[in-house]
Symmetry: C2
Subunit: 198 residues, 2 copies
DNA sequence: TACGTTATGAACTGCTCAGTCCAAAACAAG
DNA sequence: CTTGTTTTGGACTGAGCAGTTCATAACGTA
């Protein structure tokens, strides 16, 4: 009944997400998005309405895929709570050496967006707040399980420990963007995890 | 012998620094810088050459003042190593509630710049690398002192612990920009510091 | 008071930005 | 093959960008 699209919307979204991830929202022009996706301006605006809405969809897609993978690790019933946390941190270290551009880590899109946009973009802030709540809930649950089993110290509230681990993850992302190598990130992760068992 | 300036260069630099701090490099226009400093375009370009050079000077000024204050705390001979680290973290929590705009934390300019520019601005990356090295050196020295005195565990290398604490500081900054309140930041700091004494 | 020098404001430059428009193209359905 | 609907590419728009130019103002000095 009408002319069909010649591109895959999700592939285009992935390409746009990567562009925003590498350079940030402000420094990515609509022309950059055309180049990255291979689409013309008309197709981009016809499909995604505006740069800002495209960014929101890209951020939402990043959050869905990233948090899904991490929650999967955290809910892996085949591993003990501490093993799950260790696996989570191992994945985060790995991701910093998989997601690179020009020899530098590009960090994490949620951290980057928190820094660049959270203070002046309500829609982005909302997506980030929801993601943060989900992450903290998943980490807290694992910590509570570890506390029940005695593997994790109960001297601190599970919620506090979850916020602590989440902050360390963010700090590892910043450290990687600042040039930290794999050994440095691994040592940070081990130090954080060791502190749970004291 | 010639017409004198009607403004104070350092005050102008402070105003520009604040503008970059709140909105980032890309989202701060030269017009914003004129408004923030109260200077005309001619005065800005006559004094600072370009937006990029003004940013470099603003970042350098931020680093000098911030790192100076923190190193002062870390080298305070009147306090024990652990007390110095506690004072450092207390200052960082405080700073997140002093440096705000529209009810949000504006974080730390070095962290913000690491995220926004480190991957594509060699001059900024150089300033950040130098600052990071100085921070890690100062923290490492305190940790070594604490390890000698027995207050800080020697099971981990002082350099690793310094990178860990520095990552936690970065993570606290991100957490604050993500909306964490004072109690949450304090708990993160306490958890990190407690892990040193195990 | 006249001169040399620097600072300043306002107008201006060329360019890039996000977003729009429209004619042509590509299909499905009748 | 025609008709109706959507996609597509390319030209276009007005606004805002970083940076320049220049006439004039404001000073120290002689």
């Amino acid at each position: 009944m009408a002319r069909p699209r010649t591109f895959d919307e999700e592939r285009a979204l992935d390409a746009a997400m990567r562009a925003f991830w590498v350079n940030g929202y402000e420094a990515t022009s609509t022309q950059d998005l055309c180049d990255a996706t291979g689409l013309g301006r008309s197709s981009i605006y016809n499909t995604f309405s505006s740069k800002h809405e495209l960014f929101q969809r890209a951020l939402a897609r990043y959050i869905d895929s990233m948090t899904a993978g991490q929650v999967e690790i955290l809910e892996d019933a085949g591993r003990s709570p501490m093993e799950r946390l260790r696996a989570l941190f191992a994945r985060i270290v790995d991701s910093e050496f998989e997601c690179r551009e020009d020899g530098h880590s590009i960090g994490c899109l949620t951290v980057n967006t928190t820094v660049e946009l959270a203070g002046r973009d309500p829609e982005a802030a909302e997506l980030l707040a929801r993601d943060l709540a989900a992450r903290l809930a998943a980490i807290s649950a694992v910590i509570r399980a570890g506390q029940s089993g005695g593997d994790i110290s109960s001297t601190r509230d599970a919620g506090d420990l979850a916020r602590f681990l989440n902050a360390v993850i963010g700090g590892m992302r910043i450290s990687a963007q600042g040039g930290a190598d794999r050994a440095a990130l691994t040592a940070i992760a081990e130090t954080a995890l060791d502190s749970l068992t004291r």
